[in-house]
């Protein structure tokens, strides 16, 4: 029984973790907190739905295409709007992303097909998979595997690829990176593009679990505390923060009084913030 609850929490935690990753990726490279990740997630899922339902693409092609589209959107938004946030206080990007989020939500709401019914991305198989005493739904297994894969890919990207190393250098010290020939403005754009793509990735994975509708972005409200718990500047911290929140919620929902589950993420965040003002991810590191 307990294992089953934990598996559910693990799958939820993976989604939180992926969205938290997108927050952290953006924050590290641009010092901005994005308030539109929920909307990007929703838009990513809707893009996949459009490709599957309207254009008849298979899921395996539609999903990466949706992520790619959102990567492009992230780049475009950076060029058109977010670039102006460079050098401003942290309020500027908060407001910009909030405004962009409203626009995205408004645009989706304006499409009748999006609000008249919920949509779903159909996975090729439906039967739960038995792992010993634990039953695993295919969509949960997919979420968990995809999160592991995404973390692996990101780790390779940041360790071995030119762009990844440049992005890391930029996050550590933009001035020094510029001297070494890295273009900070290109890295700024790359960070926003990747942040949007990661949110879309999470949205596509969430689509079989919660279905696609304009309100599905609220999950970002849980991912945010996860990112903060992880220290907001640590990629592994973000994923661990997400898992921590997901598992704690599952346990709280099972054993604590009604209503505690929905507050768990924020209670944990407050506790962590007050005990470790720099987040768990950085708590152990020397300054």
């Amino acid at each position: 029984m307990l294992a089953q609850v934990l598996v559910g929490g693990l799958a939820a935690g993976c989604v939180y973790g992926l969205v938290a990753l997108s927050f952290v990726l953006i924050y590290k490279a641009t010092r901005s907190v994005s308030f539109m990740q929920g909307e990007l997630l929703m838009l990513g899922a809707f893009s996949a739905v459009v490709l599957v339902e309207a254009l008849g693409w298979p899921l395996w092609a539609a999903a990466p295409a949706a992520v790619g589209l959102l990567f492009g959107l992230g780049l475009a938004l950076e060029r058109a709007v977010l670039r102006r946030a460079i050098g401003q206080t942290h309020l500027t990007p908060v407001l910009m992303t909030f405004g962009l989020g409203l626009m995205i939500r408004g645009a989706v709401t304006g499409v009748p097909q999006a609000t008249h019914r919920m949509h779903r991305l159909q996975l090729p198989w439906e039967q739960p998979i038995a792992l010993g005493p634990v039953q695993l739904a295919p969509e949960h297994l997919l979420v968990i595997l995809a999160t592991v894969a995404a973390c692996g890919a990101l780790a390779l990207f940041f360790r071995h690829s030119r762009a990844g190393l440049a992005l890391r250098a930029c996050s550590e010290d933009a001035g020094v990176a510029a001297i070494l020939g890295v273009s900070p403005s290109a890295m700024h754009a790359l960070a926003w593009g990747m942040g949007a793509a990661l949110a879309a990735f999470a949205g596509v994975l969430l689509a079989p679990v919660t279905f696609v509708e304009p309100g599905m972005g609220v999950v970002a409200l849980k991912a945010f505390p996860a990112a903060v718990i992880g220290g907001l500047a640590s990629l592994p911290g973000a994923v661990l923060g997400g898992l921590f929140v997901g598992l704690s919620e599952a346990l709280a929902g099972r054993y604590l009084p009604d209503g505690v589950k929905d507050l768990t993420a924020y209670a944990l965040m407050l506790g962590v913030l007050l005990l470790f003002p720099r987040g768990l991810g950085e708590a152990g590191r020397p300054r």
Partner: protein, 389 residues
Amino acid sequence: MLTTILRMGLVLACALLPAMADAATPGVDEQSIRVATIQDLSGPIAILGAPIRDGIVMRLDEENERGGVHGRQLKIAVEDSGYDPKKAVLAARRLLAGGDVFAFLGNLGTPVVMATMPLIVGAGRPHLFPFSPHQATYLPLHPLKFQIFAPYRDYMNAAVRHLVAENGYGRVCLLYQDDDYGLEVGRGVEAGLRQLGTTLAERTGYKRGATDFSSQIARLRAAQCELVVLATVVRETVAAVREARKIGWGVDMLVTASGYSAQTHELGGEAVEGLYGVSVLPHPYAGKDTSRRLGEWIESYRTRYDADPNVWSAMGYQVADIFIQALRAAGPDLDTQGFVAALERLETSRDFLAGPGYRFSADDHLGNRRGRMARIVDGRWRLITDYLD
């Protein structure tokens, strides 16, 4: 204190009614009758608001194509509150200040309804058939408040008693959404169990937008529930049933009319087979056993809106239809008092939408209290009982 205010309002409204009969009735002239509806088209329950609006508008247009009611064309102003009571109050005030609205029809959402209803009836306008489970929409009796949607607390009470009598469940549990909807359902289920001499074995809640139900289902399973009542909407219904089936728990589940939707089996697939539900108006399925009239209606809806009608479209259509029937009964000399009197005498029969038939009286403004049992069999809802008392 509160009841005195309400009583005073009642007296005042009664006193006002004859006075208004002399003056020209707002929103009515020789050529047209103008009504209004406050919907949520851009907020959290836009998924309900859009089909409701479409259903209402479709019925009014049909009537207009046939020449209107007693020669008057029906016009409707649709306001989008986005589920924000502040916007709704301003919209209601704007419509009322214009002095050009005969009645409000099918307003959507409890905060919206509760904030605007005092203004609307205060201005002497009928407040008809709102989409809100709040008791204040029909009780205490007010000359201008009418409701047709069976309250959760009435029909869930009957539904639970019916299922327990039929299948002999010992332990009944509840999974509920943390808002006024979940609360109303809880009241009905508890009242039903009290009549049977038992209580809820376990109850657990969730917030709108929740994604993971594994802990709630585990909790219910640990309580060894034999029937789980779901005060959920479509998405959560599917998630909860799938979670239970996934862990191999075949418990019987019963969902309210809010989860009685074609989307429940479209999205839920095989997992939701056998789910019990309550229907206050059947889903308009197109198929070979569909009546000709219903088939035509579905086709006409599709042509108009490029979408399949759902149970919410049917409800919107029903709201407008009862309004039109009352207008017809009120006769060609239309005023508010005459309309209210006609509505209080109205008794509708079952039509092609297979609703229950609604009946009002001078001391009961709730047109229906009953729902009927349905069950998902072979991927669609089948009605398994008539309307239950």
